[in-house]
């Protein structure tokens, strides 16, 4: 199993049970800083539960999670909310606020958490929206008027608004056509490169093996609440683990 010095996320003996059902079982796992790490796994393997633990939305039944050197169990609710500003998340279907325009969605975290005035917010939003390749004509549109790919771009711009240190992508290419899938994957790589000086760590939850191997630095395979394989992306396709082989060849 890979381990890293000063990881972005360190997970030690993490167990999570819901009633009698154990979702994560004594999980040990480090995610390196400044790299793209993808977590693969079958449905129900515990990927989303793991993501919610990293975000501090779920509390472990036992075990410990540290993010950017802070033990999450030591953070009070109010501190945790402040700490979450270190995260940006791109949801599966972008999760844009449907009562707000494109501009309103991207401006939302800036209005909530910064002292920027409206002119500065406008300037920053325009910069963010341009950086994800959105044209000005779509800035005043509501999410319902945007295509799936455009929504993802807006979601990514919103997630990057507060310059997060960790970007989380929850199945970013699920349900997209091949061209939009490529566009989203390129955006993930570009985002990592643009924010390289901030050591932006990207964590992707995915089913898409092909894209994963193309864009990731490291790939982990989660099965029944445990990491059964964790390798650099270039070695992952040659894994000997039978489940990984089965998953890749599906």
């Amino acid at each position: 199993m890979l381990s890293f010095e000063n990881p972005a996320v360190g997970i030690n003996d993490l167990t999570k049970t819901f009633g009698n059902h154990t979702v994560l079982n004594k999980l040990n796992f480090d995610i390196p800083r400044g790299k793209i790490t993808t977590i693969l796994g079958f449905s129900g393997a515990g990927k989303s539960t793991l993501l919610k633990h990293i975000l501090g939305l779920h509390k472990p039944t036992s075990g410990q999670i540290s993010v950017l050197g802070r033990d999450l169990s030591e953070l009070e609710e109010v501190d945790m909310r402040e700490f979450r500003q270190n995260f940006g998340m791109l949801f599966q279907y972008a999760a844009l606020f449907d009562s707000m325009t494109t501009f309103g969605n991207v401006a939302f975290p800036l209005r909530e958490f910064t002292d920027l005035n409206e002119d500065q917010i406008k300037e920053k939003c325009f910069h963010l929206l341009k950086s994800v390749g959105l044209e000005e004509v779509s800035y005043n549109k509501l999410p319902s008027e945007l295509s799936g790919g455009m929504r993802k771009r807006v979601g990514l711009a919103r997630a990057l608004a507060l310059s997060p240190k960790i970007m989380l992508y929850d199945e970013p290419t699920t349900g997209l056509d091949p061209i939009t899938t490529k566009m989203v994957n390129d955006l993930i790589v570009e985002t990592g490169q643009i924010h390289k000086e901030n050591e932006l760590t990207s964590i992707i939850i995915s089913h898409d093996v092909k894209a994963t191997l193309e864009i990731s630095d490291y790939v982990a395979f989660l099965n029944r609440g445990n990491i059964v394989e964790y390798l650099p992306a270039k070695d992952f396709a040659n894994s000997d683990h039978p489940l990984v082989k089965e998953f890749i060849n599906l």
Partner: protein, 266 residues
């Protein structure tokens, strides 16, 4: 014999499950109410969202409240008049309609209308945000969804319903006055003098207190069922339905208990 015993056990188990489910539901609502007070007291105070909700619950309900209030007042005037005429007290139509409206009809009918209109909208809006991960997006950004979504709606509901109830009372009395003096030929001076003789501030207060409690409970139920939504569009429909049904039941049941309490203290 074995079959009868098995059926009896199954029946008892069924009742037990329903009781446990309802008690735990009540416990969850109590926790939700405590959480509301906790987050309502903490900054930031989102005045813009509060006024948006006041506009939605209050201003946008004015048409239906005007319609319901005016016709309720007019119908009450007719019904009371023909009953009272039999015993020659038809001059009391004004105060009887006014007191009925102030104490009972205005707060209850306003509560039922708001439960159907705004309570359902609250559950549907929050429920849709829940299933489309918009609530999760707020939480991930570090924005408390209770504080952002529920607190402005509950505060606006609690303040809007008594105001709507007073408006209902006002419009209802105008309807009753027009029918009483124009259609039923009650003398205008007598109508107004009897109204001022028998109608007191305490009658108005009773209705306002009731409406405030109804507004709070309707908003709590609407937002609670919104946050409880799971399983996509079907869940949103179910949550909305439950918000309306329980909102209306709460108004009717609470009305009895509030009446029995308020008649003793006011």
């Amino acid at each position: 014999m074995q079959l009868v015993t098995d059926n009896f056990i199954r029946f008892t188990e069924g009742i037990g499950k329903i009781v446990i489910k309802n008690i735990s539901g009540l416990g969850l609502i109590c926790r939700f109410i405590l959480s509301f007070f906790y987050w309502a007291a903490r900054p930031p105070y989102r005045m813009k969202l509060f006024f948006e909700q006041m506009h939605f619950i209050g201003n946008k309900s004015l048409f239906i409240i005007t319609l319901a209030g005016s016709f309720t007042g007019m119908v009450m005037a007719y019904q009371t008049y023909f009953g009272f005429k039999l015993i020659n007290v038809d001059s009391l139509v004004g105060p009887v309609v006014a007191i009925s409206l102030a104490k009972e009809l205005a707060p209850v009918l306003t509560g039922l209308i708001v439960a159907g209109r705004a309570g359902a909208a609250m559950a549907a809006q929050i429920g849709t945000m829940k299933v489309t991960e918009q609530v999760d997006a707020l939480e991930v950004m570090g924005v408390n969804s209770m504080q952002y979504l529920a607190v402005p709606r509950i505060l606006a509901g609690t303040l809007s319903v008594p105001m709507l109830s007073v408006f209902f009372l006002f419009i209802g009395n105008i309807g009753s006055y027009i029918v009483g003096t124009q259609a039923l030929s009650i003398d205008e001076a007598i109508y107004l003098s009897k109204l001022s003789n028998f109608m007191f501030v305490s009658d108005l207060m009773q209705g306002v207190i009731k409406a405030t409690v109804f507004g709070f409970i309707i908003s709590i139920i609407g937002t609670y069922f919104g946050f409880s939504v799971t399983k996509g569009a079907e869940g949103v429909g179910k949550g909305t339905n439950l918000a309306v049904v329980w909102g209306m039941i709460s108004v009717l049941v609470l009305d009895y208990f509030l009446t029995s309490f308020l008649v003793q203290i006011l």
